[in-house]
């Protein structure tokens, strides 16, 4: 299976780091192969159509924004 690309969008606040940790946890729980990027440049964030951080993209698609999703919430989004 092709590795999936996950991006955490956030300017480095605590919430964003929490989201990244949760995303890693979700990936580990599902035993997936994934690359995680943490995007901190606000202009790159805006390019993805996101106005509230932290946000999460999976394979380039924004799946959640403006909140810290839990590992359980992220897992189904990784399997789409």
């Amino acid at each position: 299976m092709k590795p999936i690309t996950v991006e955490v969008l956030g300017t480095g606040c605590k919430k964003c780091q929490q989201l990244e940790a949760n995303a890693r946890e979700a990936i580990a729980a599902l035993n997936l192969e994934a690359e995680i990027f943490h995007i901190t440049d606000p202009i790159e964030i805006a390019k993805r159509g996101v106005m509230s951080t932290p946000a999460l993209t999976v394979n380039g698609k924004v799946v959640g924004k403006g909140k810290v999703m839990t590992s359980e919430e992220i897992q189904p989004l990784l399997q789409m």
Partner: protein
């Protein structure tokens, strides 16, 4: 009048008088009472209000705000934007994505600014501190004047037609947006109450964890001033007779962004000693609305000229509010 903080006052008085056997009139007793009253009061308010705001935040995503403001013209749009800014939480870290997001949807520059001024100025930490330390009336005045300034400054920026001083790449987003409009509204509708409360709790614990130490240290310093610094010294330096107190307070406020929780209790002690309220309001506005990190972030999308206009308008407005207040409330 009903005082919701009476239990805190009572408890602090009991501890100082009964347990420690000190008079609240003595230097040490006054300082201790100030500390024991303010710390629980401010922390309680902070927990409760940030929980409520965090919970309801899920109803007020920027996407909703953008929808409300889309198609609004000047003045009406400025007023609405500034009002919406009261209730929406704001983090300077999302100022740039928000700015681009608003402009790409065709919201006028001036209206965007009205929101960008009011949202950080009327934030939960500032409101909690003002309410807890200076009472409801001062808090409402702060909100009222803050919103007024946001409307006016945004309106002027719109009227001056300063779109040319927004970095040009921002306008390319606007074109791209028109090509693939819609696809918003993801995860907006299926948020459960449990998730909202979780979000509120997360928000609340996050805020308290990051500011509690500032609050305690700030109140400790304020308590020291309250008990030991003579009133005449404060009136001389920061009283209404010193015409430079307001601008100096504004200048001091700019770099203090993160420490508002620590600085406000100090100003409380100074107000008790005769520093006028307008100076405090101007100071608080400078801390929240002219924050250095936000200016640095906004530079990414604003040319220096527009940033300079924005900063000058805000500085002038805040100083005027300070003087106006001091003149009215003497």
């Amino acid at each position: 009048m009903f005082d919701p903080f009476y239990p805190f006052d009572w408890l602090a008085t009991q501890i100082v008088t009964r347990l420690l056997g000190l008079s609240v009139e003595s230097h040490l007793g006054a300082s201790l009472h100030f500390f024991l009253y303010d710390v629980p009061k401010v922390l309680t308010l902070l927990i409760v209000i940030s929980f409520v705001v965090g919970t309801f935040q899920s109803f007020l995503q920027p996407e909703n705000v953008r929808q409300w403001l889309e198609g609004k013209r000047t003045l009406g749009g400025n007023i609405l934007a500034a009002m919406v800014g009261i209730v929406t939480p704001f983090c300077s870290c999302s100022a740039v994505p928000l700015f681009i997001g608003f402009l790409e949807a065709g919201i006028p520059l001036g209206v965007t600014f009205s929101y960008l001024i009011s949202a950080p100025m009327v934030n939960e930490v500032a409101v909690v501190l003002l309410w807890g330390l200076f009472g409801l009336k001062v808090t409402l005045l702060y909100i009222g004047f803050g919103v007024g300034l946001a409307i006016l400054a945004g309106y002027i920026i719109g009227w001056l037609k300063l779109e040319k001083w927004v970095e040009s790449f921002v306008w390319q987003f606007q074109k791209a947006h028109q090509d693939n409009a819609q696809e918003d509204n993801l995860n907006a509708n299926h948020v459960t109450w449990k998730q909202r409360f979780q979000q509120g709790w997360f928000q609340s614990s996050e805020i308290v964890r990051s500011v509690w130490l500032y609050v305690v240290v700030g109140i400790a310093i304020g308590a020291g001033i309250h008990g030991y610094v003579p009133t005449t010294l404060v009136t001389q330096l920061a009283g209404s007779s010193n015409p430079f107190a307001v601008p100096v307070a504004v200048v001091l406020g700019v770099p203090l962004y993160a420490n508002i929780a620590g600085v406000m209790p100090i100003t409380e002690a100074l107000v008790n000693k005769g520093m006028p309220m307008g100076t405090v309001l101007a100071f608080t506005m400078a801390v929240t609305a002219l924050s250095l990190p936000e200016m640095v972030i906004l530079r990414k999308v604003l040319r220096p000229q527009l940033l300079a206009v924005f900063i000058s308008l805000m500085t002038f407005g805040i100083i005027s509010i300070g003087y106006l207040f001091n003149a009215l409330l003497v």
